[in-house]
C-alpha cells in the first residue's frame, strides 16, 4: 500500500525530471556535435518556468482541454508503466492497456491543434497520424511477439521473466523483433530523420504552432514524457526493465533495492536515448512518404519475421 502510494507520487515525478533532462541533453549534445557550446543542461526547466508567467492566446475550450488531456494521458501511462520496481497501477491493466493509454496524449494534442484552425497544425497532425500508422505496424508486431513468447499480457511479468531468462533483445528469437523495434525508435521519438511532424523549418513546429506561454510549457512537458514513455516501454520489453544481470535482485528487498532499480532503469533509458541522438544528429529529414516507405519495409519485414519466429519456436 505504502509502496503503491509512493509509486503514484514518484513515478510521474521521476519521469518528469528525466524527460526534461532528456530535452536539455538533446540540445547540449547536438550543440557539441555542431562544435557549439550549447545552452546549460537545465535550460528547458528555466524555459518552462518562464513560459508559465507569459500571457498567451487561447482559441477556445477544446484548445485548453486538449493540452490538459495530452499531459494527463502521459501521466496516467506512467502509473501503469514500470519505472524500475515502481509500477503502482500495474495490477489494473497490462501491456494492452498501456498500448491503448498511449493514444490519449497524441489525441489531446490533435484535438487542441485542430481547434487552433492553423493549417500548419492540421498538416502536422495529419503527418503525425500517418507516421504513427507507419511505425505502429512494427511496434504492435514487436509487442505481440513479446506477449506470445512469454505467454502473458502483463508487463510486470515480462520484466520478471527477463530477470530469469535474460534480456529479450539478446535472446533468440526475440532478437529479431528487438532490432525491428530499435529501427523504429527514432520515428516513435519523432527525432531526425523522422521529425516530419514538428519540422520547424517547414510547418513551424506543426501541432505546436499556435502554442505560447503555459500552453507551450505544458505541451513541452507532455512531449518530454512521451519520449520517456517510448524508450521506457522498449527498456521494459527488450532490455530487462530494471534488471542488471541479477546484481540488484541479489541484494534482496527493501527501499534501497527500489531506489537502485529506478536508477538502473534510468541509466538504460539515458544510454539508449544518447544512441538515438547520435543517429539523429547525422541524418537529414526524410519526406513523409519516404519515412513511411522505410517503416513499412525493413522494420515491418523484420518485425513480421520476429513474430513468426516467436510463434513457431
Amino acid at each position: 500500500m505504502v509502496m503503491s502510494i509512493c509509486g503514484i507520487i514518484f513515478s510521474p515525478l521521476i519521469a518528469l525530471l528525466s524527460g526534461i533532462l532528456m530535452l536539455g541533453l538533446t540540445r547540449k549534445f547536438m550543440a557539441r556535435i555542431h562544435w557549439r557550446y550549447g545552452p546549460p543542461l537545465l535550460q528547458p526547466v528555466i524555459d518552462i518556468i518562464k513560459l508559465f508567467y507569459q500571457k498567451a492566446p487561447s482559441h477556445g475550450k477544446l484548445f485548453d482541454f486538449g493540452v490538459i488531456l495530452s499531459l494527463t494521458g502521459s501521466i496516467v501511462v506512467l502509473l501503469f508503466l514500470p519505472v524500475g520496481k515502481l509500477a503502482p497501477l500495474s495490477s489494473s491493466g497490462g501491456l494492452l492497456v498501456i498500448t491503448y493509454l498511449t493514444l490519449i496524449a497524441p489525441l489531446g494534442l490533435a484535438l487542441s491543434g485542430g481547434e487552433a484552425a492553423n493549417p500548419n497544425a492540421s498538416i502536422g497532425i495529419s503527418r503525425k497520424l500517418v507516421l504513427s500508422f507507419g511505425y505502429e505496424v512494427s511496434l504492435l508486431l514487436g509487442i505481440l511477439a513479446v506477449m506470445t513468447r512469454y505467454e502473458t499480457i502483463s508487463i510486470v511479468k515480462v520484466v520478471k521473466i527477463q530477470q530469469e531468462s535474460g534480456w529479450a533483445l539478446f535472446s533468440w528469437p526475440l532478437l529479431v523483433s528487438g532490432i525491428a523495434y530499435l529501427l523504429i525508435l527514432p520515428a516513435i521519438l519523432g527525432i531526425r530523420p523522422f521529425d516530419v511532424v514538428s519540422a520547424p523549418q517547414e510547418i513551424s513546429s506543426g501541432p505546436h504552432v499556435e502554442y505560447g506561454g503555459k500552453y507551450l510549457g505544458i505541451s513541452t512537458i507532455s512531449h518530454a514524457l512521451t519520449e520517456f514513455i517510448a524508450i521506457g516501454l522498449f527498456v521494459n520489453l527488450f532490455l530487462g526493465g530494471w534488471g542488471l544481470w541479477g546484481v540488484i535482485s541479489g541484494i534482496g528487498a527493501g527501499w534501497l533495492v527500489v531506489l537502485l532499480s529506478v536508477l538502473a532503469f534510468l541509466a538504460k533509458i539515458f544510454l539508449l536515448y544518447i544512441v538515438c541522438l547520435l543517429v539523429s544528429a547525422v541524418l537529414p529529414r526524410l519526406r513523409l512518404d519516404q519515412a513511411v516507405g522505410f517503416l513499412w519495409k525493413w522494420p515491418a519485414v523484420l518485425a513480421f519475421a520476429g513474430l513468426i519466429l516467436a510463434w513457431v519456436v
Partner: protein, 617 residues
C-alpha cells in the same frame, strides 16, 4: 408477454401510418411512445424466466413459437432503445419531406420485425420476420430515390440471394429432421455428418453474412448506408446488420452447439479458423478503404464493415473470452455507431452536405454534435473509459493467450487504422477553419440533441462500468456452454491479465485535476479569434486556408494503387455476364408466329426422338 411486445410493435407500425393522415405531430409522438413503451416492456421481460411459447398451433402443420432467453433479450432491448432514439431523431430530420407517414410506418415496421426475429422460437417464424425486415429496409434505403434507389436495389438483390440460401437450408433441415423449433434442432443435429453440417453452415452463413456484410458479401453496405436517411442509417448500421450477428450466434451456438461448431474440421482446416481468417480480412481491408473516403457517411459505412469484423472474429473464435468480447462489441458498436450516424445526420440536416472536403470548423456552431462525434470516435477507437475499449480488450486477450498473434495483429491494426479515419471525420467536419457559408449554421434542434446526449452517456457509462452489460453477457456465454468469466463491475480479474477501469478513471480524473490547477495558476490566457494569431494581426487571407482536402495525401498516394475492390469488380463481371446471357435468350423471342411454330415443331420432334430412342413413356 412476448405476444404483447410484438402486437404493440407491429400495431404501432400500422397505426402510425393512419394516424399520420390526421395529424403529423400526433403521429410523431405516437411513434416515439410506442417504442418507449417497448423499452419498458422489454426491460420488464428481463425478469421473466426464459420461456418458449406456442402462439399459433398447427399452422400448415407447424407450431409457430416464440421464445425469450437472455440472448434474445439483450438484442431486443438494444433494438428498442435504438429504435426509440432514431424515431425521436426523425422528428425534425424528416419533417417537410414527402411521404412521411410511409417513412414512419416503415421505420417502425423494420424495428418491429427485428424484435420478431430475436423473439422467434423456430426457423419458420424467424424467416418470415427476416423477410419483412429485408423488404422494409429496402423501402427505407431507397426512400430518397435517385442514387438511393440504385443503392436499395443493390441491397435487395444481395438480400434475396441471402434469403434464398437460408430458405434452402431451412427446407433441408425440415426435410431431414421434421422440425424447425430452435429447442429441438440441437438434439436432432447432433449426429449429423460433418459434410451435411458444413452444407447447412455455409447456406445459413451466406444468409447471415450478407446481412452482416462480411467480406466478400459487403458490397451492398457502403452505398446503402450512405444513401439512406440518417436516422435509418443509424438503425441500419447499429442494429439491422446485427441481425446477421444474431443469426450467426444462433446458428453456431444454439442450433448446432459449440461442440459441433468447434469440432468441424478436416486436417489442418478447421471451419471456425477459416471464419476467423475471413473476419480478420473483414477488419483490415475496409479500414484502409475508409481512410480514403470523402463522404462522411460512406466513411462510417466502411468503418461499420470493419467493426462487424471484430464481432464475427470474437464470435467465431469460440472461447468464453472472445465470445463475450464479440457479443459485448456488438452491443457497444450499436451504441457508438448509432451515435456517429446521428451526429453526422444532424450536421447534414443543418448544412445539407456531408462532404468531408467542404465542411469544417463547426465546433463552435454545433457543440453537442461535436461532443457526440468525439465520444463516438473515442468509443470506436476504443480509448480507455469508453465502451469499445473493454470489448476489444477481451478479444485481443483471448487471441493472444490462445496463441493466435496474427489474428490479434489484424485486430490491433484495424484499431490503429480506425484512428486515422475517425480523426479525419472529426477534424474535417468540426475542427479547422469555418467556411464563410456555414457562419449562420444553428445548433441542432432538441429532438436531435436528445438522442446524441443519451447515447454519449451510454458510451461513457459502459466504458467506466463495463460490468453492467457484461454480467448478462456472461450469463449468455455460460448458457451457450462456456466457462463463466470472473467479472466485477469495472473489469475482470484473472491470473492472465486484469483490467480495472475504475482505477484508470480515477487516475485520469485526479491527474487531470492537478494539471488543470497548475494550468489555471499560470498567466492568464485571453481567448482570441482564430484568424488573429494566424495572420499575426494583418488582414486574414480571403477564402479557405484550411487543410482538409486529401487529409492523408501521402498515405492515399501510397495506398490507392493497391486498393482495388476485386470483389466489387467480380460482382460487376457477374452482372455483365447475366445481362449478356439474358440478352441472348431474349433474342429467341422474335415476334414472328412462324418462329414459334418452328420451336414447337422442333420440341415435338425432339420428344418423339427421345421416345423412339429410349422408350421412357
Amino acid at each position: 408477454m412476448l405476444e404483447t411486445i410484438l402486437v404493440v410493435a407491429f400495431g404501432g407500425a400500422i397505426a402510425s401510418y393512419f394516424l399520420g393522415k390526421f395529424s403529423a405531430k400526433s403521429r410523431n409522438y405516437f411513434s416515439a411512445i410506442v417504442w418507449i413503451t417497448l423499452i419498458g416492456l422489454t426491460s420488464y421481460a428481463y425478469f421473466i424466466t426464459p420461456t418458449t411459447r406456442v402462439f399459433y398451433p398447427g399452422f400448415i402443420g407447424f407450431d409457430l413459437t416464440l421464445r425469450l432467453n437472455l440472448l434474445s433479450w439483450l438484442f431486443a432491448i438494444t433494438i428498442a432503445v435504438i429504435a426509440a432514439l432514431s424515431v425521436i431523431f426523425s422528428f425534425d430530420y424528416i419533417k417537410g419531406r414527402e411521404r412521411t407517414d410511409f417513412y414512419y410506418s416503415m421505420i417502425l415496421l423494420v424495428n418491429a420485425s427485428m424484435l420478431g426475429i430475436v423473439l422467434s422460437g423456430d426457423l419458420l417464424v424467424f424467416y418470415v420476420f427476416w423477410e419483412i425486415m429485408s423488404w422494409s429496409a429496402f423501402l427505407l434505403i431507397s426512400y430518397s430515390r435517385g442514387r438511393a434507389l440504385a443503392a436499395g436495389l443493390r441491397y435487395v438483390v444481395m438480400s434475396i440471394i441471402g434469403s434464398g440460401a437460408m430458405l434452402i437450408g431451412i427446407t433441408s433441415l425440415y426435410g431431414n429432421y421434421g422440425t424447425l423449433a430452435l429447442a429441438e434442432l440441437p438434439t436432432n443435429l447432433a449426429p449429423a455428418s460433418p459434410l451435411y453440417l458444413l452444407f447447412i453452415f455455409i447456406l445459413f452463413f451466406v444468409g447471415f453474412g450478407i446481412k452482416n456484410a462480411i467480406l466478400p458479401f459487403h458490397t451492398w453496405l457502403p452505398p446503402a448506408h450512405s444513401e439512406a436517411p440518417a436516422p435509418f442509417s443509424a438503425v441500419l448500421s447499429g442494429m439491422l446488420i446485427k441481425m446477421g450477428t444474431y443469426g450467426i450466434i444462433l446458428l453456431f451456438y444454439v442450433i448446432s452447439g459449440i461442440k459441433l461448431f468447434l469440432g468441424l474440421s478436416h486436417g489442418v482446416w478447421s471451419f471456425h479458423y477459416v471464419l476467423c481468417g475471413l473476419a480478420a480480412v473483414t477488419i483490415v481491408a475496409p479500414t484502409f478503404v475508409a481512410v480514403l473516403q470523402d463522404d462522411a457517411k460512406k466513411l462510417l459505412a466502411w468503418s461499420t464493415i470493419g467493426q462487424a469484423g471484430y464481432i464475427i472474429l470474437g464470435i467465431s473464435f469460440g472461447t468464453s473470452l472472445s465470445l463475450a468480447g464479440g457479443v459485448f462489441h456488438f452491443f457497444n458498436h450499436a451504441i457508438f455507431k448509432t451515435l456517429l450516424f446521428l451526429a453526422i445526420g444532424a450536421v447534414e440536416y443543418r448544412t445539407s452536405t456531408r462532404d468531408l472536403n467542404s465542411l469544417g470548423g463547426l465546433i463552435k456552431k454545433m457543440p453537442v454534435a461535436f461532443l457526440a462525434t468525439l465520444v463516438g470516435i473515442a468509443g470506436l477507437i476504443g480509448v480507455p473509459l469508453t465502451n469499445g475499449f473493454f470489448s476489444k480488450w477481451l478479444i485481443y486477450k483471448s487471441l493472444i493467450l490462445d496463441n493466435q498473434p496474427f489474428l490479434a495483429f489484424a485486430a490491433l491494426i484495424g484499431t490503429w487504422g480506425a484512428i486515422l479515419y475517425s480523426y479525419k471525420l472529426l477534424h474535417n467536419v468540426f475542427l479547422g477553419q469555418l467556411p464563410k457559408k456555414y457562419e449562420e449554421v444553428k445548433k441542432a434542434p432538441f429532438s436531435m440533441r436528445f438522442p446524441l446526449v443519451i447515447l454519449s452517456i451510454g458510451v461513457i457509462i459502459f466504458g467506466i462500468f463495463p460490468g453492467l452489460p457484461l454480467n448478462p453477457i456472461n450469463k449468455i456465454t455460460t448458457f451457450l456452454g462456456f466457462q463463466p468469466l470472473n467479472l466485477s463491475l469495472w473489469g475482470t480479474v484473472s491470473d492472465t491479465g486484469t483490467v480495472n477501469t475504475l482505477n484508470i478513471f480515477l487516475a485520469l480524473v485526479v491527474a487531470a485535476g492537478i494539471i488543470w490547477y497548475i494550468f489555471r495558476s499560470g498567466a492568464e490566457s485571453p481567448e482570441i479569434s482564430q484568424e488573429d494569431s494566424y495572420a499575426a494581426g494583418a488582414p486574414t487571407p480571403e477564402g479557405k486556408y484550411n487543410y482538409t482536402v486529401d487529409f492523408y495525401d501521402p498515405l492515399e498516394r501510397m495506398l490507392k494503387p493497391y486498393l482495388k475492390d476485386l470483389i466489387e469488380s467480380f460482382y460487376s463481371w457477374v452482372v455483365e455476364i447475366v445481362k449478356q446471357t439474358s440478352n441472348r435468350v431474349r433474342k429467341t423471342y422474335t415476334g414472328y408466329v412462324g418462329t414459334y411454330v418452328m420451336y414447337i415443331v422442333a420440341l415435338i420432334a425432339a420428344l418423339i426422338l427421345v421416345q423412339l430412342g429410349w422408350k421412357i413413356w
